[in-house]
């Protein structure tokens, strides 16, 4: 029986990377068919296959780590680097949208009435729901840290309570933001104000939903005893991602909601 003489993980051959690439092809060409030919078949196939690939790929990572024991400290170090690099790339993604916002708002064109917010645009009051949303996300940052400390201290009941609370706060934020979108007096089509506002806050909202899903999976794993006080990187990765989502919101709030409404 062969044994490895190193601490890395040589994974079993897997179909998920190439199926994931195919899913990306179907999703992007599906968007084209939807925009130009009003057909949603390809897009549906793309999103469905993307979901299936994500579920099975990440299920396999849980099998390899929790059930087969392949995640040595060396492997975990690589995963830490990977998650940090991924979050950094997401930060650059949002940087682009902030650039677009400042480009248009620092020197508003005559077509906008030479002012920001543009003539006729009534912005959302930053001291109403947006301020509540800020408090909600800050509180969720506290509860996820509470959950982490509970895990490292081996306190199962508190960890489950704290993580559940974090997820509920995330859902509360999403619900409030959806209501704000519905109630806003301006739409995405209302000049570059609408474009920058809804694209940036929209992508942020998508990341809140992704982060909430990641945390929910962690809660299920926590309940099923997958985490130990010393080894729970899946949870740490979810917590890093959640803090990132919170920080992006703080920048959105300060720039678009507060400064951008004066």
């Amino acid at each position: 029986m062969a044994h490895q003489a190193h601490s890395y993980h040589m994974v079993d051959p897997s179909p998920w990377p190439i199926f994931g690439a195919a899913a990306a092809l179907l999703t992007t060409s599906g968007l084209i068919m939807w925009f130009h030919y009003s057909s949603t078949t390809l897009l549906t196939m793309g999103l469905l296959s993307m979901l299936l690939v994500m579920l099975q790929w990440w299920r396999d990572v849980v099998r390899e780590s929790t059930f087969q024991g392949h995640h040595t400290p060396t492997v975990q170090k690589g995963l830490r680097y990977g998650m940090i690099l991924f979050i950094t790339s997401e930060a650059f993604f949002f940087l682009g949208f902030f650039w677009a916002f400042f480009h248009s708002s620092l020197a508003p064109t005559p077509e906008l009435g030479g002012q920001w917010p543009p003539t006729g645009v009534k912005p959302l009051n930053p001291l109403e729901v947006p301020l509540l949303n800020t408090a909600i996300l800050l509180a969720s940052g506290v509860t996820v840290t509470w959950a982490h400390h509970s895990i490292t201290e081996g306190n199962r009941k508190q960890a489950i309570h704290a993580l559940t609370l974090t997820i509920l706060l995330g859902f509360y934020f999403t619900a409030l933001q959806a209501m704000e979108y519905h109630e806003a007096s301006f739409s995405i089509a209302d000049s570059v104000y609408g474009s920058t506002f809804f694209v940036a806050t929209g992508f942020h909202g998508l990341h809140v939903i992704i982060g909430s899903s990641f945390l929910t999976v962690c809660l299920l794993r926590l309940i099923k005893f997958h985490f130990t006080p010393n080894h729970h990187f899946g949870f740490e990765a979810a917590a890093w991602y959640w803090h990132f989502v919170d920080i992006i919101w703080l920048f959105l709030y300060m720039s678009m909601y507060w400064w951008g409404s004066c």
Binding site: P15, A22, L25, L26, S29, Y37, L42, M45, Q68
Partner: protein, 71 residues
């Protein structure tokens, strides 16, 4: 699992965790097929969707690239 009623001990067979799937069994199965039938079904569904979809996509893109017929 099933009840085995013949013999002196009447017991439930196949309910213990050790008779369920063992993720560390050296059976040559890759991790994405380790649980057997449910894994195979999901894998084949995903493959059908992605490969079928890719073919459909190429056909749709070929048709979309044709110039529109003159009126």
């Amino acid at each position: 699992m099933y009840y085995k009623f013949n013999g002196f001990t009447q017991r439930l067979v196949g309910a213990a965790a050790s008779t369920a799937y063992n993720p560390q069994k050296a059976d040559g199965l890759p991790v994405h097929l380790k649980r057997g039938v449910p894994d195979k079904l999901l894998y084949r569904t995903t493959m059908a969707l992605t490969i079928g979809g890719t073919i459909y996509c190429l056909v749709a893109l070929y048709m979309a690239s044709q110039p529109r017929s003159q009126k």
